[in-house]
C-alpha cells in the first residue's frame, strides 16, 4: 500500500494547481487550514512584538520608550490582535481544519465553500482592524474589552476597530456551524462517537460555544457603535442607561470565549499525551464529557469579571460559586492526563514537552484563576498585574504552548519533512524558562499592588519589572529558535515518512502528506483512537 510511503503526489500538487489563487480560493480543508495557520501565526508575531515593546516600556520606572497614550494604544492593539486574530481562530481554524476531517474519516468539511468564506471574513475583519489603527482618531486606547463609558467617548478610532471584530466574529460562527455539521454528518463507517479522537471532541464542544455565544459579542459591539454614532444612551446612566449592563454583555461572550481558546488546546494535549506515553488515554469518556461540561458551565460564570463593578452582592455570590464549579471538569482533565502518564513509556520529544508544559502552566493559570474567582480575594488583585500574569499563564502557557505542541506534532505530517529535535528542545527550554520568569514575576508584582494598564509605576516595583522584561527576552529568543528550526525543518529537513510518532488516530493512517481526497477508498474505523496495539512506529 502506498499509504505508508512518502506520497509522490499529495494535496500540495495532485490537483495540478499551485499558484497563489489555488490557495486563497481553495476549498480544500488542508489548504484552508494552512492559510489559517500562517495568518494566525503572523498576527501572533505582531502581537509578540507589541508585547515586547510594552515590556521595554515597563523595564524601568518613568518614561522609557513611550508615553501614556502610546502605551494605552499598544496594550489595546496587543490584546485585540492576540485575542481576536490569533488565539480564538488559531486552533479551530488552523489545526481543526487541517486535522479534524481526516480524524473522522471524511474527505472534507460539510461546507467547504463556507469554510473558505470564513477565512475570508477573518481576513476582511483583520484588515478593518488594522485600518482602524491608522485612520480616524488613531489606534483605539480602550483595552481589548472596549468598556463603556470610555469607549463611547474616546476620540480614537474605536468604531472601526469594533466593526472589524464584529466581522471576525462571523468568521468564528461559520467555523462553528461547519464543524458541528461535519462531526455529526461526515463520520466514516465505524467512527462512533466514542471512537472520536479527543481533539475532535474538544472542537465539537468549542463549536457550540462559537455558535451560541459569538452573536452576543456581535450585538454588544453594534451597541457600542450605536452609542458612539447615534448617541443612543443605552449605557449612559444620565439617560436611563446602565454602564454595568455593557460589562454583562461583553463577558457573556468573552468568558465563554476563553473556553473557545482553551478547549481545543486541551484536545491537542489529550491527543498527544497518550501517543508519547504509549498508553491509551485514562478516562476517555470523562475527558470527552468534561469538554461539554466546561462548555456549558463555563457559559454561566461571566460575572466573575465584575466583582468590583458595583454589581449586586447576590450576583457576586452566585457567579463566584459557579466559577468554582468549572474548576471541577478542568481538574478532571488534568488528573486524567496525569493518570495516563502513570507507568507509561514516556518519550520526551518536542510535542510531548510542550504538551507537558501545558499541563503545568495551565494548572498555575487555573489555580491563580481561583484567587480571582473568589470574590473576597479578587477585590485585592482585580486590575493588577496578577490578572495579567494569570491570563498569560492560561492563554499563552496553556493555549499558546498547545499550539506549539501541535505545530511540532502535526505540521510534519502535512509537509512530509520534519524539524530537528535538539534545537527544538533547547528552544522549549528557553521558552519555558523565559515564560515563567516573565509571568510569575508579574503575578508577584500584582500581589504587591502594581496595577495593570499603566505605563508607569511606583519606584519600588522597579527591580522585579526589570526581571520580568529580561524574562520576555529569554522567551523571545526561544520563540525565534523554535520557529527557525521548525520552518527550516518543514521546508528542507529530513523526510517525515509513515507514522514516526506512532499515532493511532486516522490521520496517521493516510499518506504523508495526505492527498487532496485524504483517503484512497472509504475509510473504516476499526478501533479506538488510542488503541496502540496494532500500531507500528
Amino acid at each position: 500500500m502506498s499509504d505508508m510511503q512518502q506520497a509522490a503526489t499529495s494535496f500540495w500538487n495532485d490537483t495540478g494547481k499551485t499558484g497563489l489563487t489555488s490557495w486563497i480560493f481553495s476549498t480544500d480543508h488542508k489548504r484552508i487550514g494552512l492559510l489559517y495557520f500562517y495568518t494566525t501565526i503572523g498576527f501572533f508575531l505582531v502581537g509578540v512584538v507589541l508585547g515586547l515593546l510594552l515590556r521595554i516600556e515597563l523595564m524601568a520606572p518613568g518614561r522609557t520608550i513611550m508615553g501614556p497614550q502610546t502605551y494605552n494604544a499598544l496594550f489595546t492593539v496587543h490584546g485585540v490582535v492576540m485575542i481576536f486574530l490569533f488565539i480564538i481562530p488559531g486552533i479551530p481554524g488552523a489545526f481543526g481544519n487541517m486535522v479534524m476531517p481526516i480524524q473522522i474519516g471524511a474527505r472534507d468539511v460539510s461546507f467547504p465553500r463556507l469554510n473558505l468564506l470564513s477565512w475570508w471574513l477573518y481576513i476582511i475583519g483583520a484588515v478593518i482592524i488594522l485600518t482602524s489603527l491608522f485612520s480616524g482618531g488613531g489606534a483605539p486606547d480602550t483595552g481589548w474589552t472596549f468598556y463603556v463609558p470610555f469607549s463611547s467617548r474616546t476620540g480614537t478610532n474605536v468604531s472601526l476597530a469594533v466593526f472589524g471584530v464584529f466581522i471576525v466574529g462571523f468568521s468564528s460562527i461559520l467555523t462553528g456551524v461547519n464543524f458541528v455539521t461535519t462531526i455529526h454528518r461526515l463520520r466514516a463507517e465505524g467512527m462512533t462517537w466514542f471512537r472520536l479522537p479527543l481533539f475532535t471532541w474538544s472542537l465539537y464542544a468549542t463549536a457550540w460555544v462559537q455558535i451560541l455565544a459569538t452573536p452576543i459579542l456581535a450585538i454588544t459591539l453594534v451597541l457600542v457603535m450605536a452609542e458612539r454614532v447615534l448617541g443612543t444612551g443605552l449605557f449612559d446612566p444620565t439617560r436611563g442607561g446602565d454602564p454595568v449592563m455593557y460589562q454583562h454583555l461583553f463577558w457573556i461572550y468573552s468568558h465563554p470565549a476563553v473556553y473557545i481558546m482553551i478547549l481545543p488546546a486541551m484536545g491537542i494535549v489529550s491527543d498527544i499525551i497518550p501517543v508519547f506515553s504509549r498508553k491509551p488515554i485514562f478516562g476517555y469518556k470523562m475527558i470527552a464529557f468534561s469538554s461539554l461540561a466546561i462548555a456549558a458551565a463555563g457559559s454561566l460564570v461571566w460575572g466573575h469579571h465584575m466583582f468590583t463593578s458595583g454589581m449586586s452582592d447576590t450576583a457576586v455570590v452566585v457567579f463566584s460559586f459557579l466559577t468554582f464549579i468549572v474548576a471541577i471538569p478542568s481538574a478532571i482533565k488534568v488528573f486524567n492526563w496525569i493518570s495516563t502518564l502513570y507507568k507509561g513509556s514516556i518519550s520526551l520529544e518536542a510535542p510531548m514537552l510542550f504538551a507537558l508544559s501545558f499541563i503545568l502552566l495551565f494548572s498555575i493559570g487555573g489555580l491563580s484563576g481561583l484567587i480571582l474567582g473568589a470574590a473576597a480575594t479578587d477585590v485585592h488583585v482585580h486590575d493588577t498585574h496578577f490578572v495579567v500574569g494569570h491570563f498569560h499563564y492560561v492563554m499563552f502557557g496553556g493555549t499558546g504552548f498547545a499550539i506549539f505542541a501541535a505545530m511540532h506534532y502535526w505540521l510534519p505530517k502535512f509537509y512530509g519533512r520534519r524539524y530537528r529535535e535538539k534545537p527544538a528542545i533547547i528552544a522549549w527550554g528557553l521558552m519555558f524558562t523565559g515564560f515563567n520568569v516573565l509571568y510569575f514575576t508579574m503575578q508577584v508584582l500584582g500581589m504587591r499592588g502594581m496595577p495593570r494598564r499603566y505605563y508607569d509605576y511606583l519606584p519600588e516595583f522597579g527591580p522585579l519589572n526589570l526581571v520580568a522584561t529580561v524574562g520576555s527576552w529569554i522567551l523571545a529568543a526561544g520563540l525565534i529558535l523554535m520557529l527557525v528550526n521548525l520552518f527550516r525543518g518543514l521546508f528542507w529537513g529530513e523526510p517525515f515518512v509513515g507514522n514516526p510518532w506512532g499515532g493511532a488516530t486516522l490521520e496517521w493512517s493516510v499518506a504523508t502528506p495526505p492527498p487532496t481526497e485524504n483517503f484512497e477508498g472509504e475509510p473504516v474505523a476499526t478501533h479506538g483512537p488510542y488503541d496502540f496495539s496494532g500500531v507500528k512506529k
Binding site: 455558535i211 451560541l212 454561566l300 460575572g303 447576590t314 450576583a315 457567579f319
Partner: protein, 94 residues
Amino acid sequence: MDQHQPHIVSYTRLIGIWLALLVLTALTVAITRVELGGYKVVGALAVACAKAGLVIAVFMHMKYEGVLLRWLLFLAFVTLAVFIGFTFFDVLYR
C-alpha cells in the same frame, strides 16, 4: 433539505400576523406607562418573546421545518433566556 416543499402563506394570514405584531408593539409601549417596578422588564420581555415567536414561526417558516431544526433553534433560545435570566441576579438585587 428533503422535506422542503414551498409553503405559500396566504395574504390574509400574513396581514393577520402583521396586525398581531402591531398590537403587541402597542402593548409594549402601554406596559412602560403602568407602574410595575422591576416586573416592567418581565412584561416587556414576554411581549418581545411572543413577537419573535410569531416572526420565526410564520415569516421565517420555522413552523414548516423538521424537528431537528426546531430543536436547534430552541436550544439557541434557551441559551439566550438563560443569559438574560442570569443578569437578573444583578439587576433585581442591586
